[in-house]
Symmetry: none
Subunit: 134 residues, 4 copies
């Protein structure tokens, strides 16, 4: 599953704990429907190696997601997206999940006295670089 070496992206410089970055990324992918019920996720060891992080850190993220009912553990097998999870959420709800980070960006823009128009323009640029067209 070497093609999954970029399954997760983490920012080691951030104050946000790595395990939490993973939890939130996976939650978003399930909310969007990118990950569907039954789908296997890369193993703890694979992710740990790909991200150069200790396996226990990955395991902690997976355990939390399991406790939350989003992942399913199967003895001796790779974990997978749980069969009976909250299904992919409607677009309006997903947009809401984006709100906190945008609010933070807006607060920073204000403190930096960056005009709204410039902030919007920069965001537009970044969105178009990122993953290409959605």
């Amino acid at each position: 599953m070497s093609s999954d070496s970029h399954f997760f992206q983490i920012n080691t410089g951030s104050t946000e704990p790595i395990y939490r970055q993973l939890v939130e990324q996976l939650r978003r992918r399930v909310a969007s429907g990118q990950l569907v019920a039954g789908q296997e996720i890369p193993s703890v060891r694979e992710v740990a190696q790909a991200l150069a992080v200790h396996p226990m850190t990955i395991s902690k993220a997976y355990s939390l997601l399991e406790a939350e009912g989003l992942l399913e553990r199967r003895r001796g097998l790779a974990m997978r997206v749980a069969a009976q999870h909250k299904r992919a959420q409607p677009a309006a709800d997903r947009l809401d999940l984006l709100r906190p980070t945008l609010e933070r960006a807006a607060a920073e823009a204000q403190q930096l006295e960056v005009p709204a128009q410039q902030a919007l323009h920069l965001f537009d640029q970044i969105l178009n670089q990122e993953g290409g067209a959605i």
Copy 2:
């Protein structure tokens, strides 16, 4: 200085340490020129009470900013923005300081499969609510 009870805004629920939230807010305000050399900032006790946070947390933020040369401590007097700090930064540099948070928002949008246009629209709305027109 009761009008300064909202000098800082913090998010106690965040994983980002409070002292760091304070440090970064103040850096941004200096970068934007909202705070100028010689300007007094609210005392540790005032801020601690207003934010319902332990005074040492505020003190830690102020000490870091002092070590950084951004604030000046004066015996028995309120701290103030240091005389010889890097002056307010040009608009282009300030825009760059906004980039990391917008990159994070863009990554989240992509994982949530929120179309760029919708994300931009939401950001626009939030910017216009926030502090009013800039």
Copy 3:
């Protein structure tokens, strides 16, 4: 808080993970009302030392109980029983929580061909030794 060195009892020989033994003991004490909202529990380090177990093992138990809403974390302070937890449960429900272990004991008695009367008698003896009169 040295008098709390026996706050928890664990069985290191068991296959049941230590952290889970702790979680279940604390759940039972809250269910019975022995632990009430707001009450502080011994610190991670105290328990770790008293039980001769690694602090992270204790921490894991406490984190699970916090995720479950039974404990409350307070930055820099000892954890305590959450204010808004499911209150102490009625006697009938508590009796039900005892059922699984008694079912296991009954199954073992059957496999050992120990007569019901003898099993009951032994249980009676153990109950009366244990904590004294309840």
Copy 4:
């Protein structure tokens, strides 16, 4: 040997490893004399299918019991209870084997503050349901 589909009872939800559940059940049955020297036990495949468990798990239990001298492996034939094992144990010893689980139940009763009398009454009920009269 389809009538042996319920030769073992396991609890897949438990933290106790399946192979260990099997080992202990068989030990108890031998201790009680329910299983006697020379008696055949169901094959790995039969048990695996009946319990919906991986054959290697059953095999591991059987191997441990063989290493312990309780079972005998015979090329091409079903395993059987070893000829020269510790014979069925006297009633007093078997009662002792029941003690650990009853001690655990007593500890739980105490933590739940369930009165001894109620705990005993519940145990009595369960014993009489279980396998019928012994």
